[in-house]
């Protein structure tokens, strides 16, 4: 009788031994990101002290070269040339405005310039200067200013 008890004990132990190697990586976080509104997802996933992704880092280099003269290093629309412009360049740290703006609108503005979205023609078009993926990098980086990087 004692032997059967031993077996009864052994079986779950063996099973436990097999399962212990599993890595308890949480899948719940990944599950929560489904849904269509990408801006909302980015806001959710990236708290203050946001670490730049690869695309955003690529964008930051291009932004510093092409955009910062007017839009400012911090994206506040206060580059050294901003004060010669009327209307003033867009402030990218304005989170209320940026959340309402879709990725497509940002990419269109960079590609076709202000005139292509019925805004000021003072914003030039870069669609023939940098390639499409570079424009997407810049668009991704422009979104990071709302975190106050």
């Amino acid at each position: 009788m004692t032997r059967t008890r031993v077996i009864a004990l052994l079986v779950p132990l063996l099973l436990a031994g097999c399962t212990a190697k599993r890595n308890p990586a949480s899948l719940s976080a990944a599950d929560s990101t489904r849904g269509g509104d990408s801006a909302a997802i980015v806001l959710q996933a990236a708290p203050v002290g946001h670490i730049l992704t690869y695309e955003e880092r690529q964008g930051s280099v291009l932004y510093a070269k092409y955009c910062a003269v007017c839009h400012g290093k911090e994206g506040k629309g206060d580059g050294f040339n901003a004060f010669n412009l009327d209307p003033r360049p867009r402030d990218f740290s304005d989170s209320a405005y940026m959340v309402a703006l879709s990725d497509g609108q940002i990419i269109q503005t960079i590609t076709g310039g202000g005139r292509s979205v019925n805004k000021s023609p003072l914003m030039p078009s870069y669609g023939w200067t940098i390639d499409r993926s570079q424009i997407q990098y810049v668009a991704a980086y422009v979104r990071t200013f709302v975190y106050g990087n």
Binding site: D31, N84, M123, P124
Partner: protein, 647 residues
Amino acid sequence: MKPLRATFAIVAVLFLVVLAVSPLKDYLREWKKYQTGYNSLVAGLPQRVKPVDIGIRQVWVQKLDRVDRCVTCHLGVKEPALHAALEPYRTHPRIYHDVDDLGCTFCHEGQGAATEYRESVGNVKYWDRPILPRAYLEASCAKCHRENDVPGAPVLNLGRKLIRESNCAGCHRLEAYQKQWIPALDGIGEKVNRTWLVAWLKHPKAYAPSTKMPDFLLSDEEAGTLADFLLSFRTFPREAVLDPLPAALTSPGDAQKAKLVELGATKFREARCISCHPINGKGGYVAPELGKIASKVGEQWLYNYVKQPKRLQPGVLMPRYRFSPEELAGVVAYMESEFVDYDMEKPAPHTPDPGFYEKGRALFKKYSCGGCHGLPGMARAEETGPDLSAIGAKKLYEIDFGRSGIEQTLPSYLKTKLLTPHVFGESMKMPQFGFREDEAEAIAVALLGNTGDRIPPDLIVPATPQSAFAPQGEFGKLVDDLACLGCHVMNGRGRLVATDLSLEAGQARRTWIEGYFKIPYSLRPVLTERMPNLFLSDGEIKTLVDYMETSFIADTLEHAVPSDPTAAAIGRGLYYERYGCQSCHQIGAKGGYVGPPLDKLAVRLTPGWIFHWLKNPQGLKPGTIEPNNNLSDAEADALAAFLLSLK
């Protein structure tokens, strides 16, 4: 009977259990959980994303001999709909390479064949190339992009620039990096005084924060002996002898001296010395600090050097200014009176210890000074430091972490070694360069790319061949004497601090270039570097411009721009209303100041250049931030006509 049956029963049950273990183990594999997680994730997406069949997935890259099973869990790598998902399902960022083409571990490192998280990351025994941390990832670009800058890899590019500037190749074997030109020490005994030299050797950055000379952490005794040794070298290259100081500098009256200093101050300003030289940290960055120069070098040396820089230091990129004898004396008198270090103790007479020469020579060898500086009678030291041509594949057990207490990985070792070499042991000969943390990281990135791996030749990006352009004749002599290639590029030769001159005569009008040599001005108000006034004679200017007019041109730039007022009126509309050019350019003091002002443009530029520039700015100056507006020929003509009509 009974015990036998019981034993049989136990063995049978045990047998069953053992049989069950294997399928159970397989059922509970780590990656299966990720795959089912992926399927439930994509099922909930509004977009249609195909779920995956459960099973090991892999990328086989035959040419690199790699099998990477990373895609077993990283299932969304090629699925754009998952760009906002969390890892391991997120889309791979858009890069210029394809995962089917290069696989994963070729860039990321790690153990590609592993199917468990811990093993694939590679921080396990018997796997020497663990996954590269994010900050060091650009290292892998260097495997194929061996020499040229990589667009999109700013950290790697910075690291390479720092390796070149710091002349790491002076002591280490580093393929693809050439030794830099650094002044030889011939005649140093006639140049500097001992008090300054001892202080400099002990702590170079105290005198000139911008210097590239590292700190060898010498003791007082070592610095003194090395200084005595160096000061015994008193002959200049090619047997040059210092000219005596003119009478105006040796015995001036008080009134005469004040006048001389005043003239010198004016000329020092007009020559724009601070375009290249910093003064107490402010000014240019391509030449040495001048803030305390009078306490460093002797007056006679300074006079001779400003007079003919290349005579004392062949190869230096300092132009020979065309000062008159009086102006030259004035500039020297001004520098002697202005740039003095009042805190430095007065140079006192000093008798070196006996045997200083041998001891100093040993120190010169020990610290491998000859890796950078030439010295007569001493062979230039070759690679006295460790070979770094395969440092990226160094195995962890080969590294002595000493008592540094840092994280035991190769990237952290390299970074710490660059920041504070001496934490790995007192006897380390590597000097302290005073890098910032991000600079040390960038250099580590560039070094980690030297893996010594065998790369298929078709993947290696060939380096741009070095231009063999060497101007000859009178023009060539002037280019050498004025060190034009120190700042300008001509047909691929030179350093791009200022503009590329390869098409200068096709771009600018002759009269404008001539006037610019007389009074150089900055086209853009926000630029820091400025063209120096070299005080050239009319004959020299003619030689320079004549050469440009025959060589720095291109037939393709010729174009006739219509001159009728209707075209100009259309151009005005395009300028202000459609393309908003005024956001960067000024006309009549109205507009932005990113680009140059456009008033009187017809005086400066040729019509053909304006037209072709408007059509494709990057075609003429790669990397310019002027956007290409994709203008039609008619639009470019109209805009050019408007710009040429500006008075």
